[in-house]
């Protein structure tokens, strides 16, 4: 299995290390050509405006959108913003996942927090959700399954082959969310559900 990590800016090395520890060789993606032959893609945390500008300069927007229409993509924090169909106060980026997102809605760094999450579909109890200047999902469309809530807002969501988390599993030692995504990338049954 070949899993790509969008490596324009942000915490891509952390996902890379997590995938390597699970026996998957990660491919860093910085150009449209980098998407060729991938079975799935992680869009990591970082600054969403930085990533949007860099993706624009590299001609990555359309290729990313096309990729996400046929293959699994996992957006983490800033990556979740890049997936959203609606972003309050700004144009959406790929618009792939039917949800509305408010950036920095939890506040500034002093309001960042760790919360125990019950994630449906994950075996083995609570998951430590690390929320850093996190986006808040204010509305999820009917085709979107909410896998976890935090403080009343969806924190993990799935729409067919697309996965989004407002928190950062790559900053923990818990690899269950990464295993969950790899299952999505490897499984055939995920295919018909997608749009």
């Amino acid at each position: 299995m070949r899993i790509g990590i969008l490596a324009l800016q942000g915490a891509f090395a952390e996902h890379s290390a997590m995938l390597s520890s699970l026996g998957v060789r990660p491919c860093l993606v910085r150009t449209p050509q980098g998407l060729a032959g991938l079975d799935g893609l992680i869009m990591p945390g970082g600054e969403s405006t930085s990533m949007r500008r860099l993706a624009g300069h590299s001609g990555l927007l359309e290729p990313l959108r096309e990729f996400g229409m046929s293959r699994p993509v996992w957006g983490v924090c800033a990556g979740l913003i890049l997936l959203a169909a609606r972003v309050e106060g700004e144009e959406p980026f790929t618009g792939l996942m039917d949800m509305t997102v408010a950036r920095n809605a939890y506040g500034r760094q002093r309001d960042s927090f760790v919360a125990e999450l019950q994630v449906s579909g994950l075996p083995g109890g609570f998951f430590a959700g690390v929320f850093i200047r996190a986006p808040r999902v204010v509305e999820a469309g009917p085709g979107v399954e909410v896998l976890a809530h935090s403080g009343g807002a969806p924190a993990a969501l799935r729409q067919g082959r697309l996965l989004a988390t407002a928190f950062h599993p790559e900053l923990t030692k818990d690899d269950r969310m990464h295993r969950y995504f790899l299952n999505l990338c490897g499984s055939r049954e995920a295919l018909p559900e997608s749009l």
Binding site: A7, L8, Q9, G10, A11, F12, A13, E14, R30, G45, G46, E47, T49, S50, R52, R53, L54, H57, C77, A78, R103, N104, R108, Q109, R110, S112, F113, V114, V130, I132, R133, H168, L171
Partner: protein, 296 residues
């Protein structure tokens, strides 16, 4: 370590990880902050004067007006950093109260304490600190810094000191990695760093926190050079808004940090950027004009 402390550490070193592969730009007003954000900066440093002007003006350089910092926080959605003087824990408390996302305990400002740095573990807000070598980096981390940067020589537009400091830190890391175990205690004492952090560096093969380049970076090539030397990202102080075409240069430096090992792309983005900041050779500075010597 209790749970609250370890959560705080996770959140603060975690925010620094989100900056990686990015550019943090000095800005002195909301308009510049918006230009930086639009260019793709991953954060801005709000301050009243860029280092080149601090250098030119002389006198005592202090924390910026909190109102000015608030103005910049209101203007952009990316994280906002601000500087306090070395050892000035009250300035740091004020920046924390203002809601700055990160505090730079910075040698660019005039030190308030010539003996002690701030006890950064005592704050909720993360800190970044400058260093010239491994020992200095680990002392700051021991005090609670969530992120490290090279000191370089701020406000010069001369990258030579940033290169020196990056290489010196790397050299220290290589020594810690490869020396026989029995030499580590003496090594830790020699460089003035806690043994447990030296052991951590030995195991990780790098600093335990994010490490950016700073001090003298003025061109996309400078930024890419620092990335190729193993830095996690880049601060650009005077280099952008003291140049001929700040928006264009800012955009180019952001791209250079992402595509740092692609010479074709670097060539393309380095074209027609207009004038770089004029600069002053770091070597020509007298000892009293060198900022990197502040702090220990």
């Amino acid at each position: 370590m209790n749970q609250e402390t370890s959560e705080k550490e996770l959140l603060n070193t975690g925010l620094a990880r989100m900056f990686k592969g990015g550019v943090i730009m000095d800005v002195v007003n909301p308009e510049q902050a918006r230009i930086a954000e639009e260019a793709g900066a991953c954060a801005v440093m709000a301050l009243e004067r860029v280092p080149a002007d601090i250098r030119a003006d002389g006198g005592v350089a202090r924390m910026s007006d909190p109102g000015m910092i608030r103005g910049i926080m209101a203007a952009v959605s990316i994280p906002v950093m601000a500087k306090c003087r070395i050892g000035h824990f009250v300035e740091a408390r004020i920046l924390e109260a203002v809601g700055a996302d990160f505090i730079d305990e910075s040698e660019v400002l005039t030190p308030a304490d010539e003996q002690f740095h701030i006890d950064k573990r005592d704050f909720r807000t993360p800190f970044v600190c400058g260093c010239r070598n491994l020992g200095e980096a680990l002392r700051r981390i021991a005090e609670g810094a969530a992120m490290i940067r090279t000191k370089g020589e701020a406000g010069t537009g001369d990258v030579v000191e940033a290169v020196r400091h990056a290489r010196t830190v790397q050299d220290g890391i290589r020594m810690a990695r490869h020396m026989p175990r029995e030499e580590l205690v003496s090594f830790a004492r020699e460089i003035g760093a806690p043994l447990e952090l030296v052991l951590q560096v030995r195991e990780l093969g790098r600093l335990p926190v994010v490490n950016f380049a700073a001090g003298g970076i003025a061109t996309p090539a400078d930024a890419a050079l620092m990335m190729q030397l193993g830095m996690d990202g880049v601060f650009v102080g005077s280099g952008i808004f003291k140049s001929g075409d700040p928006a264009r240069r800012a955009r180019a430096i952001v791209q250079a940090v992402t595509h740092f090992d692609d010479a074709q792309t670097l060539a393309r983005i380095s074209e027609n950027l207009g004038e770089a900041m004029s600069g002053v050779a770091a070597r020509s500075l007298g000892a009293d004009q060198q900022l990197a010597g502040r702090g220990w």
